[in-house]
Every structure is written in structure tokens, then in C-alpha cells.
């Protein structure tokens, strides 16, 4: 019987090696798989390239992963936060690399990576410093830059509900990058607050079909980043 659920967060993040590329779902705190990220900190992989829209807040979740020194490079669109100096401090001291990508280009590069598309053209960033070094091309009189598909070894994402096949639905704007990242990683790991029996999920409303998911782990009451930050929690 196909059953992608694993018994613990430790097992869920197993196999992430030093130097791996890891996509982390979420936009700000919405959809951030905090428990999986904390398990990755405990797991101890170093020299990671992490792909997320942001760089976390406070000293929990993604910010904690960066603070723990696990991340060699961030690929993101908006590495600033009202509530975190973790990334800025490391960046200014040259201890972490940054690849800055426009948000829509980041989303599309991940989708392309998952869809077997090695390159596509977008008008975003043309004429700006972020287009420097990128191949340009004109279609119908408008200029575009060539962007490349983006893949990862692992994706860590947070869903609302899943079944044993790995079908996943999300919660409101927590959906954001997660369905894209699920398609673009060798191993996609999803933490969900609920696991339902196969057949209980309407096939019309599945957002991430199970084919894109390798591991499901139950986290019944996931923490909210803003709560932890407000309480001054620092992980570990």
C-alpha cells in the first residue's frame, strides 16, 4: 500500500546532505514549515543553498537556520524583515551569499524547474541591475531576459491537510510558493496539520497532487512565527 507518511520530523528531513539545495515554502510566516526547519537545524546539514522568498524573522524558523550557520547561500526576492537582523548581519560581514531574484521570476523559475523547462523569457528586470549578465532577446519589439529553471534536492513545505498518497491542500495565502516547490525538488517533504483517509479529499480541490510529494509528516498544531517572535523565542 502506498503510504508516504513518515513517523517523525527527524525521519522527514533525513538524507539532507551538506551542500544540498533546499527550497523552503512560505511567504513571510504564511506557509513557513517551522517544525521542519527546526528539525533541519537539529539534523545539522551545513553549507546549504536555501530558496525562499524571504530570510525569516526573529530567531526561529528560517532565520534560526541561517543563524545556526547552516546556510551558505540564499536565493530570494526580499531578504529584509522588520523583525530580524540575522541575515543582514551575516550578509554585511560577507558570511552568506545572496542571489536576488524578482519575486515573479523566482516563482516562474521554480515552476519551470518542476515542469522540465530549462529556460524562459520574462520582461521583469530588463534595464535594471538584476538583468546584468543575463542574455537578452527581443520578441515583437519588447525586450526580455532569459531565465533558467530552478530545482532543488529537497523541498520543505507546509500544508493544511494531506492523504497517504501525498495529495495536499493549503490554507489561504499560506499556499504561495509551496505547490511550485513541491514540483521542483528531488524529495518533497510536507508537514500537515491533518492527515485524512484516501478518498476523503475531493479530487477537484487537490492543489498538490501526490506525484509531487515523497514524505508527509503530521504536525497537528504548528507554531506561528509571529507568536514565537513576539515571545522572543530563539531556536534551538
Amino acid at each position: 500500500m502506498i503510504d508516504k507518511t513518515v513517523e517523525s520530523l527527524t525521519v522527514a528531513v533525513g538524507g539532507i546532505t551538506d551542500g544540498a539545495t533546499v527550497m523552503v515554502g512560505g511567504f513571510g510566516e504564511a506557509g513557513s514549515p517551522i517544525e521542519l526547519i527546526h528539525a533541519l537545524i537539529d539534523h545539522g546539514a551545513q553549507g546549504l543553498t536555501v530558496i525562499n522568498n524571504n530570510t525569516g524573522s526573529g530567531e526561529v524558523g528560517l532565520a534560526a537556520l541561517i543563524k545556526a550557520g547552516c546556510v551558505a547561500k540564499m536565493i530570494c526576492s526580499y531578504p529584509r524583515s522588520m523583525n530580524s537582523t540575522v541575515f543582514p548581519d551575516l550578509y554585511r560581514s560577507g558570511k552568506i551569499e545572496l542571489e536576488l531574484v524578482p519575486q515573479g521570476t523566482l516563482a516562474e523559475r521554480i515552476r519551470a524547474g518542476g515542469a522540465g523547462i530549462p529556460g524562459f523569457y520574462t520582461p521583469a528586470s530588463v534595464g535594471t541591475p538584476l538583468a546584468q549578465g543575463k542574455e537578452q532577446r527581443t520578441f515583437d519589439g519588447t525586450d526580455y531576459v532569459l531565465e533558467h529553471g530552478l530545482r532543488a534536492d529537497f523541498a520543505l513545505i507546509k500544508g493544511k491537510c494531506a492523504d497517504r498518497y501525498g495529495n495536499v491542500v493549503y490554507n489561504k495565502t499560506a499556499r504561495n510558493f509551496s505547490p511550485l516547490m513541491a514540483t521542483a525538488a528531488g524529495t518533497t517533504v510536507v508537514q500537515v496539520a491533518e492527515i485524512v483517509p484516501a478518498g476523503d479529499m475531493d479530487p477537484e480541490v487537490v492543489i498538490t497532487p501526490g506525484i509531487f510529494v515523497q514524505r508527509i509528516v503530521l504536525v497537528p498544531n504548528p507554531a506561528h512565527e509571529s507568536d514565537l517572535v513576539r515571545k522572543g523565542v530563539s531556536y534551538p
Binding site: 513571510g28 526576492s77 520582461p123 541591475p129 489561504k172 504561495n176 492543489i207
Partner: protein, 224 residues
């Protein structure tokens, strides 16, 4: 360059209301972070706007009542919002397909600088110590049908933001259609900045003095 005097021109809320007055009924609108967010407070009688927030919601409503918010229902500025009847959630690639594909009628962005050619700089001052962060701004200016800017006419130090040529890193070239400031509504035309409307109590010369490029009066254009 002289600074803008207090009590001259529009207050921030008035600027936002002035922008709202120009948004047509039924428009799909994306609002940048900061002053643009104030626009949601103003919906002219008889009109309905549909707000898109690029993190994955069409039909964004106002901030929730105190204590009623949800950490996973937020806008692009990461503030808690609500979803109106008729709303839809979607992932980021679909959200930016709406933007890049020309489906959003209008976006209203803040600005550090706007050039008379319509170049926009709104993501970085290029300072060596700054953490560069662009978000969705480059996608918005590249894809949205009309790009409006809402900004104070001058910086806090009194330097003009509307200038001949941007000195900060660009967000996009030739993308801005119209600028709403505390002092005036100014169109970006093939001939350069053209004053469309002066704020109450503000005259043309006053605005010109605080602008780093030549302003065309609306009547000049009509004459030519």
C-alpha cells in the same frame, strides 16, 4: 532645493483618496507596500475595485478587526488582511501570471525616484551597506497595464524625487504612467512630465521649483 513647507499640498490620506478617484469601476488593482495601502480606505460611491495581492489572493479586503486576524491570511506587505466574497486563492506562479500577463489593470507603487522618461527607482538606494530587496516590483512594472506612483513630491531632506534621470538602481525603464504627489498629479508623456492637476493652494511654479526636471503645463500640451 527648498523643502516643501508643512501644510502645503495634500496629506497622505488625501493623496490616497485622489488616486482612488481615478480608478475605474471593476478595476483589478495591485497596491504596493506603504502609502499605496492607504488607497483601500477610499472607494468612490458606486464603484467596486478588486484588489490583487501578489502573494496569492484576488479579492483582498480590509484589515481584520483586532484579534480576528489569521497569520496565514496576509498581503504582500505581510500584514493581516481579509478575503471578500468572490475572492480566490492561488499560488505564486499563477499570481505573477496575472501580473506579467497584463491582467492587472493598475498598480500603485511608492517611489524613491521617477525620471521624466518614466523610469522608476523604488527598491534600492544603491548604498553599499544596504540589503538589496526587490520583491515583486520589477514584475509589476513590467506587466501591469497602468503603473501609477504615489509619493511625496520631495524627500524628507527636500530633494526632488521627480528628476531628469534616476541616480538610484532602476526598477524598470519607461514604465510609469502617472504620479500622484502631495503637490500635483503629473503624467509621464513622450515629451516628459506634464502637470495634469495642481493640489489646492499650489501653483505651477511652486511645483516646478521642487521638481528636478522641466514640467509641462497641461495647457502647453493642448497648445502644441
Amino acid at each position: 532645493m527648498s523643502s516643501v513647507e508643512p501644510n502645503v499640498g495634500l496629506a497622505r490620506d488625501e493623496m490616497a483618496q485622489r488616486v482612488a478617484a481615478d480608478i475605474p469601476d471593476g478595476a483589478y488593482v495591485n497596491l504596493g507596500i506603504g502609502i499605496p495601502e492607504l488607497i483601500t480606505k477610499f472607494v468612490p460611491e458606486g464603484r467596486e475595485f478588486i484588489y490583487h495581492t501578489e502573494n496569492g489572493l484576488l479579492g483582498m479586503g480590509p484589515s481584520p478587526e483586532e484579534g480576528q486576524g489569521e497569520p496565514e491570511l496576509i498581503n504582500a506587505g505581510k500584514r493581516q488582511v481579509t478575503a471578500l466574497p468572490g475572492a480566490a486563492y492561488f499560488h505564486h506562479a499563477d499570481s505573477f501570471a496575472m501580473i506579467r500577463g497584463g491582467h492587472i489593470d493598475l498598480c500603485v507603487l511608492g517611489a524613491l525616484q521617477v525620471s521624466e522618461g518614466g523610469d522608476l527607482a523604488n527598491w534600492s538606494t544603491g548604498a553599499p551597506d544596504a540589503i538589496p530587496a526587490v520583491g515583486g516590483a520589477m514584475d509589476l512594472v513590467a506587466g501591469v497595464k497602468l503603473v501609477y506612483v504615489i509619493t511625496q513630491h520631495c524627500t524628507k531632506k527636500g530633494e526632488p524625487k521627480l528628476i531628469e534621470s534616476c541616480t538610484y538602481p532602476l526598477t524598470g525603464t519607461g514604465v510609469v504612467n502617472r504620479i500622484y504627489t502631495d503637490l500635483a498629479v503629473i503624467d509621464v508623456t513622450p515629451e516628459g512630465f506634464q502637470v495634469f492637476e495642481l493640489s489646492p493652494g499650489v501653483d505651477f511654479d511652486y511645483v516646478q521649483e521642487r521638481t528636478g526636471a522641466k514640467l509641462l503645463d497641461r495647457s502647453h500640451s493642448t497648445d502644441s
